[in-house]
């Protein structure tokens, strides 16, 4: 068989398996190993599995994931999101759309304790949704704000998806976290601007809350001292240099657990459920990463990257044109496939192309996360919107997508700026080096 035939079979097989409802990680393992076996041999392909699993299990970088998950789950169960929400509300609640702004602020703050977007949606929904309804926000807009704010969970460090990217793209996770900082601030600002602009057109829908006195604000700060200290310690510890990423995660996990014990006491059933969730998500991610690695073997020995690069160069398109095309494909595929799977499958041949044009892999990581964020609430299938719909059954899905529309525009603008000015992501890591 020629290598082009093997490549064709490999990719067709991969997509066929995924469509037959085989988990994406397993589909990548099977097609990757089959392709590798066709080129190198069956025995090496078999023992590749042992080596891949052993190396992934032993990876200190991947071990960050269960620790971050523990930290996020305990922080959520401890109700730390409430403190952050109240704090943000105390300072911006009196503006038009203030409670929506506070929700976004709470999401960003909670994102500093939690590496997952779904968990951020889950925990912020409990706090913010009832309050926004009580103050007269339209339900679809309230739900949309939370679904969108939740995406900050994967951009504001720590972030599970950034850990996975750092492992597969071989970049330092701390560098990635630093690279994510300005884009995260930008995301919060743009979402905030979307709220304010939307509020100008729908004045009745965005009531302002009462203005709090200085003493009341001080009280809100006092109430949230612990959570500020925790987020500050974890993020500040990473940036200012007391710990490594793993040490920061450990400190965060231990303190979140302490907060959980302090606030809720020891509840065996609940703790057991948190642990079960953490374990299954961890196991799921390891399977995904092992699958991506196995597929990577096949991509490497088959020379797909070279073929892809040659094909792209033959089009004579400028780099930005190709990048725009790739991003459009990612977003369109995200509508019926899955952004993360798309990123993982294409990374071994797209990243070398991006790097060959002199772009920084850190920047591509942030671009990828931004695309994933858009995919999380972009119709027709946005995971965060679906989850939010599951939590608030009374808002129809169609209305809910209407609620995220202003934010969608903000995100497309942000993605465009990030692509046009890679410095937004690469400047800070370079400056701090």
């Amino acid at each position: 068989m020629s290598s082009t035939t093997i490549i064709l079979f490999g990719f067709v097989g991969l997509f066929a398996l995924i469509l037959l409802q085989v988990p994406i990680g397993v589909a990548m393992m099977v097609s990757g190993a089959a392709g590798f076996a066709a080129i190198v041999g069956v025995q090496p392909a078999l023992s590749m599995f042992g080596g891949e699993v052993a190396s992934s299990f032993a990876s200190a970088d991947l071990a960050l994931i269960p620790i971050f998950l523990l930290m996020g789950n305990f922080a959520s169960a401890a109700g730390l999101s409430t403190d952050l929400y109240r704090l943000a509300d105390a300072f911006v609640g009196h503006r038009r759309g203030g409670l929506a702004l506070a929700t976004l602020g709470g999401c960003a703050g909670f994102g500093a304790l939690c590496g997952s977007s779904l968990a951020t949606v889950g925990t912020m929904h409990r706090v913010a949704y009832p309050e926004m309804l009580a103050r007269g926000y339209p339900p679809h807009f309230a739900a949309g704000t939370i679904a969108v704010g939740g995406t900050l969970g994967i951009l504001v460090p720590p972030s599970i998806i950034l850990v996975v990217y750092s492992v597969l793209a071989e970049t330092f996770v701390i560098d990635l976290y630093i690279a994510a900082l300005l884009p995260a601030l930008m995301a919060v600002a743009f979402y905030g601007a979307a709220v304010v602009l939307y509020g100008m057109t729908r004045r009745a829908a965005m009531p302002a809350g009462p203005r709090l006195s200085g003493a009341e604000r001080l009280e809100a700060v006092r109430q949230s001292l612990f959570v500020i200290a925790l987020a500050g310690l974890v993020i500040g510890g990473i940036y200012a240099g007391v710990f490594t990423a793993l040490e920061a995660a450990s400190v965060g996990a231990v303190l979140s657990f302490a907060a959980y014990l302090w606030r809720r006491g020891w509840r065996r059933a609940e703790a057991f459920k948190l642990i079960g969730d953490t374990a299954s998500v961890t196991g799921m991610i390891y399977v995904m990463v092992i699958g991506a690695s196995a597929f990577n073997y096949f991509v490497t020995v088959s020379g797909v990257a070279d073929l892809f690069m040659a094909a792209v160069n033959a089009t004579h398109l400028p780099p930005w044109g190709v990048i725009a095309l790739i991003l459009v494909v990612y977003i369109v595929l995200g509508a019926f496939f899955d952004e993360v799977a798309t990123m993982l499958i294409t990374l071994p041949f797209v990243l070398p192309l991006i790097v060959s044009w002199g772009y920084d892999p850190l920047w591509w990581g942030i671009v990828n996360v931004t695309v994933i964020m858009i995919g999380l609430f972009c119709p027709p299938i946005g995971l965060n919107v679906m989850v939010m719909h599951g939590l608030v059954r009374d808002v129809p899905l169609r209305r809910m997508y209407l609620g995220v529309l202003p934010f969608l525009l903000a995100d497309f603008l942000r993605l465009g700026l990030l692509v046009a000015f890679p410095l937004i992501a690469t400047w800070l890591p370079a400056a701090l080096r």
């Binding site: 994406i24 032993a58 523990l70 996990a253 642990i275 961890t282």
Partner: protein, 181 residues
């Protein structure tokens, strides 16, 4: 049959809890190491050796939990398009493939453990500690993972054959969203 199924799934939970507790204890040790190192210039010697082992054990303990709860990232184009029994047959087919993959993984990890034993590999600082037994534990955990998938396969087969109601095919936890995002 159902009692065995429930007991093994329960055991997957216990295993995961044990692995994560180990990881959590390691996190506490890491915090103490940071404090000792920065405040008293006395880090915990050889912690990196022990941590390295704990990462391996914790990861191995978590994989069966995902299988027990049927939580893997899967795109489900047929979920609402097929009748329950043909759908269960399709899920059974996927489970069969997963079972084959987990079995190969377990088999290769046994081989890995045997190689560690044959080449006398130890920890890097605690040179008296052989790593082979720990890898044997990993191979056991992955074999258990394959066993759990066999149980999943059995459930789907029974649903497909009409011996079990469709709504009992998946454990309750798998209905909740689980995603790396």
């Amino acid at each position: 049959m159902n009692t065995i199924d429930a007991a093994l799934r329960r055991f997957a939970y216990l295993l995961a809890a044990a692995g994560l507790c180990l990881l959590f204890l390691n996190a506490i040790a890491t915090v103490l190491d940071v404090l000792g190192r920065t405040l008293f210039a006395t880090p915990i010697d050889r912690l990196s050796d022990v941590s390295g082992l704990i990462y391996i054990l914790a990861a191995a303990c978590c994989v069966p939990a995902a299988t027990a709860q049927m939580r893997h990232i899967t795109i489900k184009p047929f979920e609402e398009r097929l009748a329950p029994r043909p759908y269960a047959a399709l899920e059974g087919l996927a489970a069969l493939l997963k079972l084959a993959v987990w079995a190969v993984l377990a088999w290769q990890l046994w081989a890995h453990a045997a190689e560690m034993e044959a080449t006398h590999q130890t920890l890097s600082q605690l040179r008296g500690v052989r790593v082979a037994p720990f890898w044997t534990f990993v191979a056991l955990a992955m074999s258990f993972n394959a066993l759990l998938e066999a149980l999943n396969l059995l459930r789907f087969t029974r649903v497909a054959l009409g011996a079990m109601p469709p709504d009992t095919a998946a454990p309750a936890e798998s209905a909740e969203p689980a995603n790396m995002l």
